[in-house]
Symmetry: C2
Subunit: 423 residues, 2 copies
C-alpha cells in the first residue's frame, strides 16, 4: 500500500519497526499533495524542502514518542514557529509567529512532523476557505477546519488538527468522510491558537480511524490512550434526535436510525434520549455567545483593519458588538445550568447517538454547511466523535456523531471504536 494511504496507527507501527522511514512517509504525503492539491486546495502553506529535512532529522534521532515521524496538518489558526500562520485573513499575510502553539509543541515533542498549515475559513468563522470536498470538488468540505478535513480524507496526511467553536471539527469531518474528535472543553491547551470565541473554542483532531484519533490525542491531552481490546459489555445508547431533527434531510434521518438498529442488533440497548428542559435553547442561542466573544477576540482587527475583514464576516462582528453584556451573561449562566442537567441525565447512558450534520456536504462552495447538529454540544463542552457511516443522495459520505459525558473522553473513544467496528 502507498505509505500515504496507511492509517496513522499502521504507519506508526512500520516507522517503529524501521520498515518505513519518516522521509519516505513524508515524501509520499508530499507526492499526494502535488498530485491533488490543485483540485482539493487543502493547504495554506507547505514547504517541501523543510518537511523533507525535518523528516530526515527524525530518521536520524532516537524515537521521541509514539508519533515519531507521523505527519500532521495544522489548521492555520494555530501558531507554528517555523511556518507562517495567517488565520485565513489577508490582515495576517506572511505572519510568522515567534513560537509554536502549545498543542504543536506537544505533538513535536512526541515526534510528530508538521507537514504544513491547512486552510481555515476567515478567522475560523463562516466565510469559506478555498478548499473543496475531495469526494467531489463541486461540494464544500465543510468548515471552518476545511483543509484539515479534506487533507486527511484525501490521503495527503494521516492526521490533522482543527478547532471547533460551533461545528468546525465534526461537520467537515462528516462531509469529507473521515473520523474526528472534538474533546471535552479544556482538554487541549489553547496557548498560541487564535481565538474565535474563547469560552467555546476547542482544539480537535482528524484521522482515518478511531485508533488514529486516540494516538494523536494522547500527547495532546495527557490522557492515556484507551485500551480498545476486550470490550465485552454492550453500551447503553441514548438516541438523541435533538430539537433540530427536522433540519436533517431524509437520508440523514434514515441513516441514523439504521446505525441505531445495527448497534442494537450487536447488543446495545438503545432508547430515545430527551435533552434536559431548557437545553433546546442552546441549539440556537449558541450564536449569541459566539457572536459576543468573536467580536471581542477580533477587536484589534475590527478597529484597525476593517477593510480587510470579509464582507460576510464584517456584519457578523457588527452584530456581536450589539449583544448586551446582560444577555450574554444570562445565556452563559443558562448554559452552565444545562451542563449540570445534561451530566445528570447522561448517567443513564454510555453515549448519545446523533447526526454529525444535516446531510451530506452541500453542492455549494459559497457555504460550509450548517452547524445546527454541533453547536449545542460545543456549548455543553462535552466530547464528540464523528464516524463516517452511510452515503447521501449524491453519494457523498454521511457521519454519525457520538457524544460522551464531560471529561469522559477515553470512554467515548472506546465506544466509538466499538461502534465503528460494529458498523
Amino acid at each position: 500500500m502507498e505509505p500515504s494511504r496507511l492509517s496513522a496507527a499502521e504507519a506508526a507501527k512500520r516507522l517503529e519497526a524501521r520498515e518505513l522511514t519518516c522521509e519516505a512517509l513524508a515524501a509520499a504525503c508530499l507526492e499526494r499533495i502535488a498530485a491533488r492539491e490543485e483540485t482539493v486546495r487543502a493547504w495554506a502553506f507547505v514547504d517541501r524542502k523543510q518537511v523533507l529535512e525535518q523528516a530526515r532529522a527524525l530518521d536520524r534521532m532516537a524515537r521521541r514518542g509514539r508519533l515519531h515521524g507521523l505527519p500532521f496538518g495544522v489548521k492555520d489558526v494555530i501558531d507554528t514557529a517555523d511556518q507562517p500562520t495567517q488565520y485565513g485573513s489577508p490582515i495576517y499575510r506572511g505572519h510568522q509567529p515567534r513560537a509554536d502553539a502549545a498543542c504543536v509543541a506537544l505533538l513535536r515533542n512526541a515526534g510528530a512532523l508538521i507537514l504544513g498549515k491547512t486552510h481555515t475559513t476567515e478567522f475560523a468563522n463562516n466565510p469559506p476557505a478555498p478548499t473543496r470536498n475531495p469526494h467531489d470538488p463541486r461540494h464544500t468540505p465543510g468548515g471552518s477546519s476545511s483543509g484539515s478535513a479534506a487533507a486527511v480524507a484525501d490521503f495527503m496526511v494521516p492526521l490533522a488538527l482543527g478547532t471547533q467553536t460551533g461545528g468546525s471539527v465534526i461537520r467537515p469531518a462528516a462531509f469529507c468522510g473521515v473520523y474526528a474528535c472534538k474533546p471535552s472543553f479544556g482538554s487541549i491547551n489553547r496557548g498560541g491558537m487564535k481565538f474565535d470565541a474563547e469560552s467555546l473554542d476547542t482544539i480537535g483532531v482528524f484521522g482515518r480511524s478511531v485508533e488514529d484519533l486516540a494516538l494523536a490525542l494522547e500527547p495532546l491531552t495527557s490522557r492515556p490512550s484507551p485500551v480498545f481490546a476486550g470490550m465485552e459489555n454492550k453500551p447503553r445508547i441514548g438516541l438523541c434526535r435533538t430539537p433540530s431533527w427536522r433540519d436533517a434531510d431524509e437520508a440523514t434521518q434514515a441513516n441514523l436510525e439504521a446505525a441505531a438498529q445495527a448497534l442494537a442488533k450487536a447488543g446495545a440497548r438503545v432508547h430515545n434520549f430527551q435533552l434536559p428542559p431548557g437545553s433546546e435553547q442552546l441549539f440556537d442561542r449558541h450564536k449569541v455567545i459566539m457572536g459576543y466573544e468573536n467580536a471581542r477576540a477580533l477587536a484589534w482587527e475590527y478597529f484597525n483593519h476593517p477593510n480587510q475583514i470579509g464582507a460576510e464576516l464584517k456584519p457578523r462582528l457588527d452584530e456581536g458588538w450589539q449583544v448586551g453584556r446582560d444577555e450574554y451573561d444570562a445565556l452563559r449562566a443558562h448554559a452552565s445550568r444545562c451542563r449540570g442537567a445534561l451530566a445528570d441525565a447522561m448517567r443513564e447512558v454510555d453515549f448519545l447517538l446523533t447526526p454529525s450534520a444535516r446531510g451530506e456536504a452541500p453542492r455549494d462552495l459559497a457555504t460550509t454547511g450548517d452547524p445546527v447538529f454541533n453547536r449545542a454540544w460545543t456549548l455543553f463542552g462535552v466530547p464528540c466523535v464523528t464516524i463516517p457511516f452511510g452515503k447521501g443522495p449524491h453519494g457523498l459520505p454521511l457521519g454519525i456523531q457520538l457524544i460522551g459525558a464531560y471529561d469522559g473522553d477515553s470512554a467515548l473513544l472506546r465506544w466509538a471504536h466499538w461502534a465503528s467496528r460494529t458498523l
Copy 2:
C-alpha cells in the same frame, strides 16, 4: 495638583473639559517615570517619543470614549502591536507582536493611551520582576503584576492592566497600597495574552480609587459602569477568615476585624461566613491545577529553550508535567462543585470580606509574597476587589479584599465604593 497625581476619573473630567491635554498628562507621567524609575523599576518598555506623539494625536482627534487620553500601563504578558512584549523572559527578548491583545484594542478604542509595558515576573509565574515597592524599595511590590501595581502606586500612570492566575492582581495592589479588581472569570477577552494557566488566568485592573477601576472596566467588560450615587441600603457582609486565617499576621487579622467593625458601625450587617464544605481544599490544591496547565502553556519554551527558563521556574514546570490527568480532571470537577456551593451560600450576603494578603509587603526582593488569600478566589472565578486600608508593622500598606458573587461585578464595585468611602 500635578496631573500625574490626579485620579483617572478626575483626569478624565479635565481632559473632557479641555482643561488638560492628553499631551500634558502623558508628559507628567513620563516626567514622574524619569524621576522615579531608577528606584521603582516598574517598566519593561516605555518609548517617550512614541507616547508623546500618540498623546498629541489624541489631542487632535474627536473624543473616542470615556478613556480619551488616559494613560495605561500594560503588563508585559499582554501583546501590543507597537511595543515589544517580552513576557518577563529572555526567550522573548525584543519580541514584537503583530497585533494588540483584545483588551488593549478595547482600551485604545475607548481613547486610552498605552504609556508602556510594565514588568511581569517570568511568564507571570513566581520568579520576581526587577520592580520594587514604591513605599520602600527594600520591599517586594508583590507579583506577578509587579510593575503595574508599583507604577499606579507611584503616580507614574493612573491605570494599569494586570493578570491574576493565583494572586497576581490583588496581592501586588495590596502591597503597593492601590485599588485593584480581578473581575469574574470570563469578563475580559484574553486574546493576545500569554497564558499562564488557561482555566484561571484573568485580566484585571489597577487604579487609585474604585471609580477609576470602574472607568477602566467599562470598555473592557462591556458592563455599564455602576452608578455609585444613592446607595441607601446597607450591605450584608460575610466576614470570611478562610482556612488560611492563621497565615495572616497579627496586624492583618486586627486590621480586617477593624474594617469589619467600622463597616458594621456604618450600618452593615456583618456575620461570620463559612466556606462550603470541601472548598478549603481549593486554597492548597489550586497549585496543582496551575502547575498542570502552566507546564502545557509553556510547552514550546520548555522543549526548545530549557536553558533560558529561570532556575526557579524550571522545577515548577517539571512538577507540572508530573501531575496526572486524572488528578487534574478530578480537581477541576471538585472546583466546579465548590463553585456551585459558593454561589448558593453567597445568596445570603452582598459580599465577603477577607484579607488581601498575609500581611504587608515582605522586606525581601527574592519573593513576591504568598497568594494564599487569593488562589481559591481565582479558582472560584468570583470577582475580587482590594481596597487599601491600614498599615503593617513597617508602615507599609495593608489591603482588605471584597469578594462578590460570580458575574456580580457591578454590584461588587458599588459595595467596594461604599466601603472605601465608609473607611
